[in-house]
């Protein structure tokens, strides 16, 4: 059933949020630390586990795929509620601080990329989110 996929996603999401909040409390900051990252790891493990057992059938996968496909529209809604007025009102100081930071970070990315092994990178072809072929359930 579709809800099984959605529920699996919800479980991973909630577990990540709770652990991220706990981690934030533990190191004493007023923020969720790594919640989304923990959720992502957890969901990958869960998907792998249930796929191996043949329990993640096509309708359940649809529940996951739907929310993955809603990602871009949700990001557009996110853009529509940014505090753009504050950005405009911030004037040249805010503009320079924001833009220079982004330029410098983009310049640093290729340098950071060179740190460590280089052979473990391979390009992903550009296309919309689609399930891994191995994940097709029985």
């Amino acid at each position: 059933m579709v809800i099984y996929g959605v529920a699996l996603l919800s479980f991973a999401y909630l577990a990540g949020q709770i652990l991220g909040d706990l981690l934030g409390k533990l190191i004493g900051v007023k923020a969720n630390v790594g919640g989304v990252g923990i959720s992502i790891f957890l969901l990958l493990l869960l998907i792998e586990y249930f796929t191996k057992k043949g329990k993640l059938n096509i309708p359940s996968q649809e529940g996951l795929k739907f929310w993955g496909a809603m990602y871009i529209p949700i990001v557009v809604a996110m853009a529509a509620q940014q505090n753009v007025m504050a950005a405009v009102k911030g004037g040249p100081l805010a503009l320079l601080a924001g833009v220079i930071t982004v330029i410098i970070m983009f310049l640093l990315i290729p340098l950071l990329d060179k740190v460590g092994k280089k052979e473990d990178r391979h390009d992903l072809e550009e296309e919309l989110i689609e399930p891994n072929l191995e994940l097709k359930a029985k």
């Binding site: 990252g37 509620q81 990315i109």
Partner: protein, 254 residues
């Protein structure tokens, strides 16, 4: 009559948001294929339209949540809020490779530290150039250059005044918007085409909404990797800015 329509839209906020965003996406993809022959990604145009709408929303209401402050469009706030955004980001992991994510480790950590310290230094330098010289204001503006959440959290912790807080939030929002709009064009240039670089990008750029928006219009397959880096960013920033980075700033400029 008109009032009934507005009330219905208002009472069904989230559904109204789905309809509004659906229309926005349609228009964006139409513009993309008709006027740019697909060279400018439809999602990038949609995000730009979203930001323009947010500007007019803020202009009309004086609020902080763009279009979502207009009652009729309040559902945009729910649809594009942190909860559904993070939920959808986690969902994009369906189809990602586990082996790729396992390699995140050290390089992710290095990117995070660079992505915290370098923006901070840039923010402090720009603030100095504009005549600020007290360590509290410098630290707060520097923190804003990390993300627009780290800025006010740091400012509140070390007692910055509201003008400086507003500036630090503005710097963070501009950073986020710049990342959203420029990533699709910078991607090929900086090698942002693979999971490893996406992790570095997420850790170094940090701003969750910027990374989410930027990768949406670049290659949605990279989203989980970018999110993996970005998710620790605000936490690390909130940890380092009011403590270590503030003490260093105080030592130098105090």
């Amino acid at each position: 009559m008109l009032e009934v329509v507005f009330n219905s839209l208002m009472n069904n906020g989230l559904i109204t948001a789905f309809a509004v965003i659906g229309i926005t996406m349609y228009i964006s993809h139409f513009i993309s294929s008709r006027f740019t022959k697909g060279r400018v990604h439809g999602s990038a145009i949609a995000i730009l339209i979203g930001l323009v709408l947010a500007y007019f929303g803020g202009l009309n209401t004086g609020g902080e949540k763009g279009l979502a402050d207009i009652t009729m469009f309040s559902g945009i706030g729910l649809m594009g809020g942190g909860m559904l955004r993070d939920f959808a980001i986690v969902a994009t992991v369906f189809g990602a490779r586990f082996e790729e994510l396992k390699k995140v480790g050290l390089i992710g950590l290095i990117s995070l530290l660079v992505g915290t310290v370098v923006p901070f230094i840039v923010g402090v330098t720009v603030a100095l150039a504009f005549g600020y010289n007290d360590p509290v204001s410098l630290t707060t503006i520097g923190a804003g250059a990390i993300t627009y959440i780290v800025g006010p959290v740091t400012g509140a912790a070390i007692g910055a005044n509201s003008t400086v807080m507003a500036l630090s939030i503005a710097a963070g929002v501009i950073k986020s918007i710049t990342v959203m709009l420029t990533t699709p064009y910078m991607a090929k240039f900086v090698g942002l085409t693979n999971p490893r670089t996406a992790v570095i990008f997420g850790g170094a750029m940090g701003t969750a909404s910027g990374v989410a928006g930027g990768l949406a219009a670049t290659n949605p397959k990279l989203v989980p990797y970018g999110a993996m880096g970005a998710t620790f960013h605000t936490g690390i920033g909130c940890l380092l800015c009011p403590s270590v980075l503030f003490l260093v700033t105080k030592f130098i400029f105090g």
